[in-house]
Every structure is written in structure tokens, then in C-alpha cells.
Amino acid sequence: MLTNQNFIKVFFLETHVERISNLQDFKKAELDRETGLFLYEDMTLGRRFEDKCAEMYYRGKMFGFVHLYNGQEAISTGVIGAMKKKHDWFCSTYRDHVHALSAGVPSFEVMSELFGKATGCSKGRGGSMHLFSREHHLLGGYAFIGEGIPVALGAAFSSRYKKEVACDKSSDSVTAAFFGDGTCNNGQFFECLNMAQLWKLPIIFVVENNKWAIGMAHDRATSNPEIWRKASAFGMHGEEVDGMDVLAVRGAAQRAIERARAGEGPTLLECLTYRFRGHSLADPDELRSEKEKEFWGKRDPIKKLAQEIIEGKFATEEELKSIDKKIDTEISESVKNALEAPEPPSEELTRYIWAED
């Protein structure tokens, strides 16, 4: 396992590619049939849902800024899949569709929200960048950089507070805050690392380092590009992990969750990843080189897991194909139903401003 302490000599690797090629091996999550199929299904749902979003966007069915998650699925599935649904808490950004799906928000509710329908998880008032579900403990998608991190910290604070002040022994929820590499240059990131470690809060800071912040390459914005190392400045545990390998992410998440639940405090988990599409569906994506895209394309996390499942004889290719089919059917139905779903009633325009309404 890579820990801060293991590193006496500090060295910086220049590029994302070099870093992921030089990652040290540490304990991945175990693969068995049940786990493999669950992870495969969750990642496939994320991928196919996003592909459908692109289609719907270009067909003029959804509007605004739509940020897709393709390529990064191993992180949502690896982390959220290792947590307790409707018990632990999840906090996302504007790139939030797949986190919502992994947390268990039905694809119909997410798609409805993207269409602005009354049946959306935010009742058509949030849109792509503001998915919320109290039922599924999704604290929300936050459209401004970094602002979700303090909110996630608050959920982690509540967890400790309820246990120690309200003496609720069952209060052992852990919060996962997801955000990008560019966000790690924002003050709220540093402020919250400090408070989380200071108060030993049960939170995992999950950095989805996809190397780019719109058109700003990570190395051009960041004096020390190895984000996980910043944990040590706060006395916090940090790890870097191959974000294209769901078992590696799951393994790291399991360690972080265990520590957080045991009251041992937060973890900064930097997942090296890449987005397979532009920043948003409005992004012409002209800055990233073909060579770079090709390198990462070969590390498709879904294909990688499929290969491991088949090679390990946990399931057959046919079984995986039937999962693909099942997901496609589910998504088609969600799209169909969401398209037919009602608009939010005009007379309810001002509803949900106040707690009483």
C-alpha cells in the first residue's frame, strides 16, 4: 500500500501517463462472481446511460450544460459500490449522473430530471448539474467548483455528532465527496482537508483526476500535481489509485471506509482517470491529443473488468452481454417513460422555496 510514510524521498512525476504507468501495486478488492457481476452492471449502467444522454442532447431533448462521465465509471462504482446504500452519504459535482445512479437513484428519475420533468429526482428544478435524492442520501450535484466539499464535510460532521452528542450508536455513516483535479486548487479543498483531519470526520475525499479542468491541463495549473500527497500536509492518510481499475478503486475505498467507520478519520483518495468525451457536450474538445486519448482509451475500465471476469471464469461473455441487454432495455424504458412524463405544473412554480411547501 502506498502511504505518505512510505515515501521519504519526494519525487514528482510529470505526466498523468507516467504516473499511471508507474503506480505501485497495492491490495485490490477481491473478485468473485457476485462482486464482478455487480460492478460490471453498475459501470455498464453508467456508461450506457451517458451515451443515451449524448443522443438525447443532440436530439434536442435536454438542455443546458451536460457533463458526461464516460471513462470514469470505475470510480463511482468502486467507491459507492463499497458503501452502504441509503446509509452512507454521497456528494457530487456537475458531473453527477453516474454518482446518482450508483447511489441507487432510478435511471427513470435521473433521465426525467434531465428532461426537466415533474418525475425528476429534483422535480425538474435542478437539471443535469443539480441532482438530489434524500432517499438515496445523494447530497446533491453542485455546479460551482468546490462547494460540495464543505457540504459533504457537514454530513460527516453530523455522523460524528449524532454518535457522540446524541448518543446514537447506529450513527456510523461515512460520506464520500467526489470532485476533480481542477477543484483541488480551490481553497475549500484545503480548508476541508484541515477540518476533516482536525476533527477526525468520517469522510473520503475522492479526487477524480482526469488530467483536465475543461481546457486547463492539470500540470499547468498545479505546482505539485500529485494531489494525494497533499494529505500529508494535514497529517491525513492519502492514497493514489488506478482510477481505470474498479477493483483497485474498490480496494482503496474499502480501506478508507473501514478507517472512517472506526473513527480513525478521513482519507484523500486520488484516482487517476480520464474522461472519454469532452468536458461537456458543448465542448469541442480540441486541446487533448489523439495520442493521449488513445492511451487512455485502451484502459477502458469496463473492458478491463469484463476481461478479468471472463479470464477468471467468474462468468461468460454471454452473461455479460445479457447484462448489457438488460441495461439497454432499462434505459430505453426510462427514456420512453421520462419523455412521456408530465411537466412540472406551472402553478407550482414557486413551490419548494420554503421548508413548509
Binding site: G120, S122, G126, I149, G154, Y161, C192, M195
Partner: protein, 327 residues
Amino acid sequence: MAGTLLFNALKEAIDEEMANDVNVCVMGEDVGQYGGSYKVTKDLYEKYGELRVLDTPIAENSFTGMAVGAAMTGLRPIVEGMNMGFLLLAFNQISNNMGMLRYTSGGNYKIPAVVRGPGGVGRQLGAEHSQRLEAYFHAVPGIKIVACSTPTNAKGLMKAAIRDDNPVLFFEHVLLYNLSEELPDGDYICALDQADVVKEGKDITLLTYSRMRHHCLKAVEELDKKGVDVELIDLISLKPFDMETISKSIRKTNKVIIVEECMKTGGIGAELIALITEECFDDLDARPIRLSSQDIPTPYNGNLENLTIIQPHQIVEKVEDLISGSI
């Protein structure tokens, strides 16, 4: 019975609500061991412990955001802005998160949080520590804004704010913390959305809030001697305005002057005058007037500072002018 100082009235409110509900907690800079920079949370740290009265690092946007997350997950945090001006750093959390989140979440979450602290022009504190943020925050949807002005309403409003399920911005005034007054007995609250008719009168309506209530009271006394019968209303609720009480008064007096400490441009009075014009136009015998602070950063020099904010004699003069029809 001895009077209670305003800062102690606030403390009583917080203490009683913390005793009532284990989910009520306080967070902010120096609120715990130090007892708050104006001693509003004195001794509560010893009584309730370090998690319930949480001393935070100096990180306004993050601890305010943390309060949002805590409120979303069941707590009822009270955030202290050591000085309300510092909350400019938390503008995003107050606006985007507290104000908008319930709506954008389609009612998934509620945010029962209070953000409180000292604001207003003090005594030569310099521009940055003399701000009136109520006007800056006024356009934010989804938050309630109140300003206390006496020990009695400070306590009653604070208790109501803590019990309210919506985010409440609670303005105190640096120069009012040492006001003393005998408090009503028992567990009372003051409605967050109700103006206070401080003195009934028939000749003219004065609308004011926070420290200017006391400047107005001085003016009212003076005017009374001159035979002018003023109706003085303390707005209390800056958002939403209690238009019922306000328009009822204007229907009676047909004249209105707004006295405020915030700057004139984009101020509380600006919005109020717009509403009065829309809703009470036919009841007005004269144009509505605003007495506001100068549109400048508050100067340090004492004389200049006094010239920046409205003084009681200016209120007297303006009322006389309006009554005599000379303006």
C-alpha cells in the same frame, strides 16, 4: 428585577434551544472556549462540549458550507459570523447553498440553519468592519432575514430563528449588545415575519430597523414635543417585509419615511420604497422618502463616520419638512 443585556438575551435564547433540542449546535470562530467575540456564546462550550459549540478554523466559506451539510442531514446549526462582514467570504454558501438548494433539489432537503453575528456601523471600526450586508443578501431567494434591536426581541427572534426550518440570516448590531432591558418571563418567541409597531401615531409613518430604531425613538420624542404624532415601526423582518403592517400604517398616516443604516443604492429602503409605491400609491399624500447612509465606504474618522450615517436631528428635520409640505 435587573435588566438583561442584549448579548445575554441572545445567549439565553441559544442556551434554552440547545437544552431543548440536542440537534441545535453552534459553529464559528472563537465561539467556544473564547465565548464569542461579543460573548454571545459565553459558557456554552463548558456546558455543551466542543462538538456542540464548535470552534472552527478561520475558513468562512467552508464552515458555512459545512453547516449546510449538517443541516441537510438533521442538525440545526447556528453559524456565527465573527463580524457579519466576514460572511462575504461565504456568500456562495449563503446564496447558492442555503438560499437555493431546497428549491433546486425539488424539496429533497431543508436547511434549518441560522447565520448570525454583529453587523452595522460601530464606533470607528473602519470600512470593512462596518458593513450592512443585509442589503447585499437581500436578493437571495429562499432565506429569511431578520434584524433584532432590543434584548426582548433579540431573544424571542433568536429562538424563533433556531426553530424555523428555513435558513435565517440574523443581524445583530455591534452597538446594541449592551442595551439592557427586563425580559418577559418564560419561554416566549417573536414571529420572524412580523414588524413591531413601536409607537402608534397618526401623522406620519417611520419605518426603520436595527440600531436606527433608537435614533428614530430620539427623533420621535423630539417631534412629540413639537406636536407631531409619529407612528414608528421596526421592520424586524427584512425579508419578507411585513407589508400588512406597513400598508395599514400608511393607510392611516398617508406619509412615510424610511430610516436605514444601509447605503442608499440597492439598500433595504430601495426595495421597500418600490413595494410601497406599488402597493400603497393611492394612500400616499406625499412622496415616500429614504434617509440612508452615504454611498461610501465608512470612514474611520469619527466626525466623518457620523456624517456617513443618519443622525436623529436629520430625521426630525425630514419629518417636519414632509409634514409641512415643503418637500
